[in-house]
């Protein structure tokens, strides 16, 4: 007679001895994608990509997406999407400029964060109370926010007070990314928020039966996403020194793309990783910047960008948690 204990021992005995190479490969896949893309463009641009000046530029072009992607990690870990982020960036950058003109940068930051947080809370609450699918809800919210952004930007665009330009420095950007990373990392790895989010993404029903407050966690995840979306709006305003009817356009797609090429599983669960946003945002900036430094014909740029993205996703995407129905 075979007991449960024997079975467990037998199963254990079948596990490979020594290193779990697959786990290592999975862990490093995002980095590997990044390294390959760096290599491709470093060679194609004859060394232009990794010049100090261009590295600074890459940070300039990726740090807002990094912040947005890290903020959206909780929503994605739960297996949901937040397609309202572009709208949040648009409205918060516009309100930020308007506030900064009268009350200064601190008030502008506060307004951007509060508005972003409120939008997130609204999305989360409507999602759990009225059972509206998140993808539909966030798309609707994106349209609504973009409409308000157009109304607020009556003349097409609003210039930021020139005095705020002094905040657009590399150290400030690195500090912001660092702070966001630390906050999100702690939340994701060392608190119930992160663990519950991955549990919901893995199986919401099982998580609920295990005592996870699924609805509260969903609202919280959208609130975090909206809050950091508001931060991105403020940062976008500082970077572009203005807001316009187009502020934040395609931001949600860039964030999603960054997360996916960084290795994040769209199904959520344990496939959700904090590093995805950072790596993916950097990869995205390198591809966009590298194609121009390369001097590739504009007609080929999009095709090559698509091909590189496919390669990057093939390398870095975590397929462990993906269920494919044939």
């Amino acid at each position: 007679m075979v007991t449960d204990t024997d079975l467990t021992q037998k199963q254990k005995s079948r596990q490979p001895i020594g290193f779990d190479y697959k786990a290592v490969a999975r862990y490093l896949s995002g980095f590997l994608g990044l390294v390959i893309i760096v290599l491709i463009f470093q060679i194609a641009s004859e060394g232009g990509l990794l010049q100090p000046r261009n590295i600074r530029l890459l940070i300039n072009q990726s740090f807002i997406i990094m912040c947005g992607a890290m903020g959206a990690s909780f929503v994605l870990a739960q297996g949901n999407l937040d397609l309202s982020l572009g709208g949040v960036v648009g409205i918060t950058s516009t309100l930020g400029v308007m506030t900064a003109k009268v009350y200064g940068p601190v008030a502008a930051l506060a307004v951007a964060l509060v508005v972003g947080l409120c939008v997130g809370l609204i999305i989360g609450s409507v999602h759990v109370l009225f059972k509206v699918p998140a993808i539909i809800l966030t798309i609707c919210m994106m349209f609504a926010l973009r409409g308000i952004t157009w109304i607020l930007n009556d003349d097409g665009s609003i210039a930021m007070p020139a005095s705020l330009a002094k905040y657009d420095t590399l150290p400030n950007k690195l500090i912001v990314v660092g702070i966001v990373f630390v906050i999100v990392f702690i939340l994701f790895e060392y608190t119930k928020v992160g663990k519950y989010s991955t549990a919901i993404g893995a199986n919401a029903t099982a998580a609920r039966q295990s005592g996870v407050p699924v609805n509260q966690m969903k609202v919280l995840a959208y609130a975090i996403s909206g809050f950091f979306g508001g931060l991105c709006g403020f940062l976008s305003m500082i970077r572009a020194a203005s807001s316009s009817t187009n502020s934040g356009s395609m931001f949600e797609i860039n964030v999603l793309t960054a997360l996916v090429i960084g290795g994040m599983s769209l199904n959520g669960g344990s496939g959700a990783k904090m590093k995805s946003g950072l790596i993916g945002a950097l990869m995205l900036a390198i591809i966009q910047n590298g194609l121009i430094i390369w001097g590739l014909n504009d007609k080929w740029q999009q095709a090559v960008q698509g091909a590189i993205l496919i390669i990057a996703v093939a390398i870095s995407y975590d397929r462990k948690n993906v269920v494919v129905i044939d």
Binding site: F31, S242, Q288
Partner: protein, 391 residues
């Protein structure tokens, strides 16, 4: 396992470091490359001149601009780097940064909205890269002041957008159109906003009714839906002004009107021309189209190129070059235009290579800002007929 991860990470880092060493870390030149040899030919610029250009979309107008400048670059001897598709302020800043990173010494730029311009000025000043705007006037006095203080801002070239509205209203008046509507892209675009505002003002003045204005018609399908919506809600509408007809948007409006059996019955006036404008004018699908602004980009390139070569056309203040659209009212207008002014197939343009060389001080030391202004002001069908001796 941690040891293995560290080992693999170390290997990857080493590979990266070696690649950096192998491919080199030379500095990007910020000015024209110094050449010790004389130019290969008298009709070519010194080697190493690189100009960057942002184009909003890869559509008919912007594609024509890019092809024209590429043709000039190939024959006159400079390198052109294109960046396509920057609409939001942050993307426009990134676009300019990328062109600078690509080693461009001058940038020909088209802003979506103007509040981003001081930031562009600051990026270009920091990188010591000359830049100028094409197809854009600047209205905000504070932004104008900021641009005037920017060391590397050369100037701007723009069309008289209000005249588009004037011509369309005149065409509608001639056709006895009294009930109209507007279709256009999202607000915030300087050009289309100007046309819209002037059109509404003129309609009020002339007693022409504007039933509705549908914006955010960003592509052909949006325009089709917009046209159908207008006819459905205002069945007695007699005319539609299309604020941006490029990228198939004008064709989209035609399709919408065709779907409701109103093509040719409802008069259409437009900024930009459709791909089959000759046929569309002939069959009455459009009554007034305004095109020909691809030369604006060339004038701007000349401003930037002369500055990059160390022979700026305007040394006191910033250049402002204004030119006019070419209006099409009948098929013959467009036939002449596409044969003698924008003939991409046979490379026949409103300004030929000899005329362009004369706009560059390197070839023609006597050329001046005033002369460029005069050339731009004179730009018209009649001007081309006279210069190229065609009829």
């Amino acid at each position: 396992m941690k040891k293995l991860i560290k080992t693999v990470a170390l290997i990857l880092t080493l590979v990266l470091a070696i690649s950096v060493l192998l491919t080199g870390c030379q500095q990007t030149p910020t000015g024209p490359k110094e050449t010790t040899t004389a130019p290969e030919a008298k009709d070519k610029l010194p080697a190493g001149t690189k100009i960057g250009m942002t184009i909003l979309v890869n559509d008919g107008l912007f594609a024509t601009m890019a092809q024209y400048i590429q043709y000039i670059a190939d024959n006159i001897g400079f390198e052109l780097v294109l960046d396509v598709g920057a609409f939001s302020p942050e993307d426009q800043v990134a676009s300019v940064e990328n062109l600078i990173a690509a080693g461009c010494q001058g940038i020909v730029f088209c802003n979506f909205s103007e509040a981003v311009l001081p930031k562009i000025a600051s990026v270009c000043d920091e990188a010591e890269v000359y830049w100028a705007q094409y197809c854009r006037q600047v209205d905000d006095p504070e932004i104008v002041a900021s641009l005037n203080n920017a060391k590397y801002y050369v100037g701007r070239c723009f069309e008289n957008n209000e005249n588009v509205a004037v011509r369309v209203v005149k065409a509608f008046e001639d056709l006895n159109v009294k009930k109209t509507a507007i279709i256009g892209p999202a607000t915030g675009d300087t050009t289309t906003d100007t046309v819209s505002a002037k059109y509404k003002a003129l309609c009020q003045e002339k007693g022409i009714e504007v039933y509705t204005e549908i914006r955010n018609a960003q592509e052909a399908a949006d325009c089709t839906a917009a046209a159908e919506t207008i006819v459905s809600n205002f069945p007695d509408v007699e005319g539609i002004i299309v604020l941006s007809g490029s990228t198939g948007k004008l064709e989209g409006v035609f399709k919408g009107l065709e779907n409701v059996n109103k093509l040719g019955k409802i008069k259409v006036g437009a900024l930009d021309a459709s791909a089959n404008i000759i046929e569309d004018l002939r069959n009455g699908s459009v009554s007034c189209a305004n095109s020909g602004q691809f030369v604006d980009n060339m004038f701007t390139t000349m401003l930037v190129l002369n500055s990059v070569l160390g022979t700026p056309l305007k040394t006191d203040g910033k250049a402002t070059i204004e030119c006019e659209y070419v209006a099409f009212y009948k098929a013959a207008d467009a036939e002449f235009y596409y044969a003698h002014m924008e003939n991409l197939g046979e490379k026949i343009f409103a300004y030929n290579l000899d005329e362009i060389r004369q706009m560059i001080k390197y070839f023609n030391p006597d050329f001046s800002y005033e002369k460029l202004q005069a050339i731009a002001t004179a730009y018209s069908v009649e001007d081309v007929k006279t210069r190229h001796n065609v009829s």
